[in-house]
Amino acid sequence: MNAAHDCYENAHARFCIVHGILYFEYKPDTVISLTVARKVVSDRIQFQNEMIYPVLCDIRGIKDSNKAGRDYLAQFGSVLTKAVAILGNPQVSETMSDFYLKVNKPTIPTSFFTNEEHALAFLKTYL
């Protein structure tokens, strides 16, 4: 069993596993390029240690992204995840998330939330 707070941090994000859900928080002013996307996915996969989790992804720290980064995340960012709840603010975060959902088409169930409780409720159905 994992400890209640099992955490890891890299240059771009912080991730913790709590009660079977992976909490993933981008650090402020992150720009998602292909390099950043690869690093983030690679570290997350290694941290998960072969187990599959639902993921809560807090994108409030994302300042910008480019197509290569988004495409990479849409394809490989879902590896070893059951579902993703994107947590963000109603303006910029929501627009970025709408774009990602509509255009990059992530391959597993993904939804946007402005409220952490709703996000968790969504993810709990995938536990």
Binding site: K39, D71, Q75, F76, D98, T107, I108
Partner: protein, 287 residues
């Protein structure tokens, strides 16, 4: 509206109101832009392969049997910020990031005996310690010599302006082709989101998408330049490669998780695409 355009649908329009303000003028402008783009820029009925198609650069290196760089191209200067003289004589792995260098070293023994081309993923480090990821890299022996050539392709993310000379003179495609595009996009996305299952037969796919087998096969090939099966196979092998390289998951689990029914089929398909077997990639992985 803008979301529709970005995903390839130029036929939507924002409803007009009787207001005469900045917002309305913006509405008018966007509608007109959409209409223009629909008619001129994307006659094929824009399909979105979810990767970048333009602005690629490549690097090549010739290395000896010890993988010391013998020669390279001037591009190495612009991309990696080393001058070509100082690169020659350097061990190739010195150009890579630590993790990438480790992966590379692990595969060296296999590459040395490989008759065919091996494909890898390489991350380079420039002289100012910036990381650049290559989209695709390959290494192969140069016939009849004790040398190897390494190619890496990169996305050129520097500002490049708009390279519109890439577009052919627009030919107006019939409406049926544009409808096909939308359908093929759905098929494409469906396959991508179901890579963990075996590919449904052409018959089943044509039922799911309400078309006939011939049209499915022909239209997919027309828009994506590959067969449905080949695309499915390539995409799941990409995922497999990532998983093998980055996790300690047993190869059998990775195979079954990605739609392969038997391990030998998996191993064969992997070797065919990459030039080395899954166990070669996994060997010496720290447990």
């Amino acid at each position: 509206m803008l979301l529709e355009m970005a995903s390839g649908n130029f036929s939507q329009r924002i409803a007009r109101t009787d207001e005469d303000d900045e917002l309305e003028s913006l509405t008018v402008l966007i509608n007109m832009v959409a209409e223009e783009m629909q008619e001129t820029l994307f006659p094929k009925g824009y399909i979105n392969t979810h990767h970048l198609q333009q602005n690629l650069t490549s690097l090549s290196f010739i290395v000896d049997e010890d993988f010391i760089i013998l020669s390279t191209i001037p591009e190495a200067n612009t991309l990696l910020n080393y001058d070509t003289v100082s690169i020659e004589g350097l061990a190739f792995s010195k150009l890579l990031t630590d993790t990438s260098a480790q992966n590379f070293e692990r595969l060296l023994a296999t590459i040395l005996v490989n008759e065919k081309v091996s494909t890898l993923s390489l991350n380079y480090l420039t002289s100012n310690q910036t990381e650049i990821t290559s989209l695709f890299s390959s290494i192969s022996r140069i016939s009849n010599e004790n040398k190897f050539i390494i190619h890496s392709i990169f996305v050129d993310s520097l500002e490049n302006g708009n390279n519109h000379e890439d577009f052919d003179t627009p030919i107006r495609l019939p409406k049926t082709r544009r409808d096909d595009a939308r359908l093929m996009q759905q098929v494409y996305d469906y396959i991508l989101s179901n890579l963990e299952n075996p590919l449904p037969s052409l018959k089943e796919l044509s039922k799911i998408f309400g078309t006939n087998e011939h049209k499915l096969k022909e239209a997919f090939k027309y828009f994506f330049n590959t067969s449905i099966y080949q695309f499915y196979n390539d995409e799941r092998l990409k995922r497999v490669h990532l998983l093998i390289e980055q996790t300690n998951m047993p190869l059998k689990s990775i195979a079954y998780m990605n739609g392969f029914n038997t391990y030998p089929n998996f191993s064969k398909a992997f070797k065919k695409k990459y030039g080395y077997s899954p166990t070669d990639l996994k060997r010496d992985c720290s447990k």
